[in-house]
């Protein structure tokens, strides 16, 4: 059974339609790159999966269970419910808790009952993935640098017992060297039967590291990544 099966999904905000009748299937153990330019719907797709878009219409099956459907108001109302089924999102803009310590920020990711009891072991694992966080555990998250904040945000998502990890633009706004390390770390994590979608503008960061790369252009998925990135110079050039 596929982990995620999206059929005919449209979504947007108010009168604006961002996603157009989109289909997508993700299988267990898969790490998928979602590549496309700014404003073409990568973030909207990841947000819609957890019900964070203004409106949405279409089927989203997570491990055979319907979590999509038609919804036109109450943005975010279903999100906690969906997240607790086993989907973890590291959102754009990080959405960390600035007044809480790094440790509390990470622990908040292990929110659901059974996961909470094993939070110490999980935190140790995150510190292995992101060693720089070890020294910062007691520090307030609002005082961190951009790269450290991103590690906290991604680390918080990894703290959960999720089957599907959604990582939105891990390299956004980071120095090249830091983003390379971060994405490499993400791509080395053992997913087991789980899956991961990494949305990224910077194709070279993902190439050779993920199982499959999908292009996203004007709210539609393209197998041809070149088309998604359009005629502009390689996204890497935009970034570096």
């Amino acid at each position: 059974m596929s982990i995620l099966k999206i059929d005919g999904l449209s979504a947007g905000y108010g009168p604006v339609r961002v996603l157009h009748d989109l289909d997508l299937e993700i299988n267990p153990g898969e790490r998928v790159g979602l590549v496309g330019l700014n404003g073409h719907g990568k973030t909207t797709l990841l947000s819609t999966i957890v019900g964070l878009t203004g409106w949405q219409d279409g089927s989203i099956e997570f491990r055979g269970e319907q979590i999509g459907g038609r919804r036109s108001h109450g943005m975010g109302r279903t999100t906690p419910h969906i997240v607790r089924k086993g989907i973890a999102l590291a959102p754009q803009g990080d959405a960390i808790f600035p007044g809480l310590s790094v440790k509390d920020n990470l622990d908040s990711g292990a929110y659901s009952g059974a996961t909470w009891r094993s939070r110490r072991r999980r935190r140790e694992r995150i510190l292995e993935i992101f060693p720089p966080l070890a020294k910062l555990l007691g520090q307030s998250a609002g005082t961190l640098s951009g790269g450290e904040r991103r590690m906290v945000s991604v680390g918080r998502a990894l703290m959960s017992d999720a089957t599907l990890y959604l990582v939105d633009e891990p390299s956004l706004g980071l120095a090249p060297k830091i983003s390379v390390n971060l994405v490499a770390a993400l791509c080395e994590i053992d997913l087991g039967d789980g899956a991961m979608i990494i949305a990224e503008q910077n194709l070279p960061l993902l190439e050779g590291r993920v199982d499959r790369v999908l292009g996203m252009h004007a709210g539609e998925l393209k197998l041809d990544v070149g088309e998604a990135l359009g005629d502009v110079p390689p996204a890497a050039g935009v970034h570096l």
């Binding site: 964070l52 959102p91 600035p98 809480l100």
Partner: protein, 297 residues
């Protein structure tokens, strides 16, 4: 002087509990709960009803005291949930939630006062002394059991709530929601469930304050108004959402009220309190705690 300080500490503990409730509610769900006075009276009347039946059932001594305290908190917690189900759950993800819930809680507060008048009449209802009668003499001054009990129970309860907020899963969840509602939703914290929990806890703190205040004054349909106003003053002065700020402001406002009542006139108290809050807000617009400044994005 000692008497003034003791009186200040007693006032600070009682009003501090109400203020912490208002502050928590504002920081976590963005609702300025003007029905806190109604919640306050609900606890007082629940405790009073219990005290009436306790007499019939022959409950006295410590059991009566504990019962009055617990039922006062319970009654207010339930009133908090009631306010939440009317003013929070139906409005929470609509536009202008802050304004709408402000109006809704104001309405509950007005309707509530009338309901108390209908059910209990305008007479003042006394509560039995929870901490017993008597006083301890210290040097020139002294402290009554009631004052000592109020300070100990209020600060103990506050310390327990703060400890729980800092160490438990549900506490972390509330602090997370105060900092970043989107982040909280993303890790699976439901604003609605957590919001109701916050309202119940804020209610329980207010109910405790109600029982403690009824040791000095009485329970009456309008007895919640003054604690609501003082609670709002303290939570504004402390910086909405900041626990250390609210505790500091409670101490300051309690002291100001005690000094004014002792050396000037009881009727000047509101002027002095509002004067202080205006001064604080001029120099520190986010209040003493100033938490929201670094925290809300």
């Amino acid at each position: 002087m000692i008497e003034v300080l003791i009186s200040a500490a007693v006032l600070a503990s009682m009003y501090g509990l109400v203020a912490i409730g208002i502050s928590f509610t504002w920081a976590s769900i963005g609702m300025l709960n003007l029905a806190q006075g109604f919640i306050f009276t609900a606890g007082g009347y629940t405790a009073w009803l219990f005290a009436q039946y306790a007499e019939v059932w022959g409950i006295t001594g410590p059991a009566l005291s504990v019962g009055v305290l617990i039922l006062g908190m319970g009654g207010s917690a339930i009133a908090g949930l009631l306010v939440g189900s009317v003013a929070f759950l139906p409005l929470q993800d609509r536009a202008n939630f802050r304004t709408r819930s402000l109006i809704a809680t104001l309405a509950i507060s007005l309707i509530g006062t009338q309901l108390w008048l209908i059910f209990f009449g305008p007479q003042n209802k006394p509560l039995p002394p929870v901490f017993g009668e008597g006083r301890i003499e210290i040097g020139a001054g002294g402290i009554s059991y009631q004052q000592l009990g109020t300070i100990i129970v209020a600060s103990g309860m506050l310390a327990a709530v703060i400890f729980w907020m800092r160490s438990s899963r549900h506490g972390l969840q509330m602090r997370a929601m105060m900092m970043n509602p989107l982040g909280a939703a993303v890790v699976g914290v439901s604003v609605r469930t957590t919001g109701m929990r916050v309202l119940a806890i804020s209610g329980a703190l207010t109910g405790l304050s109600s029982v403690l205040l009824a040791q000095i004054f009485f329970v009456s349909p309008t007895s919640g108004t003054q604690p609501l106003v003082t609670g709002l003053i303290i939570s504004l002065a402390g910086g909405l959402g900041s626990i250390p700020g609210t505790v500091a402001a409670a101490g300051l406002i309690g002291l100001a009220e005690a000094l004014t009542a002792r050396y000037l006139q009881q009727s000047l108290v509101p002027f002095v309190l509002f004067g202080i809050v205006v001064l604080i807000l001029i120099f520190r617009p986010r209040g003493l705690g100033g938490l929201l400044e670094d925290v809300r994005e």
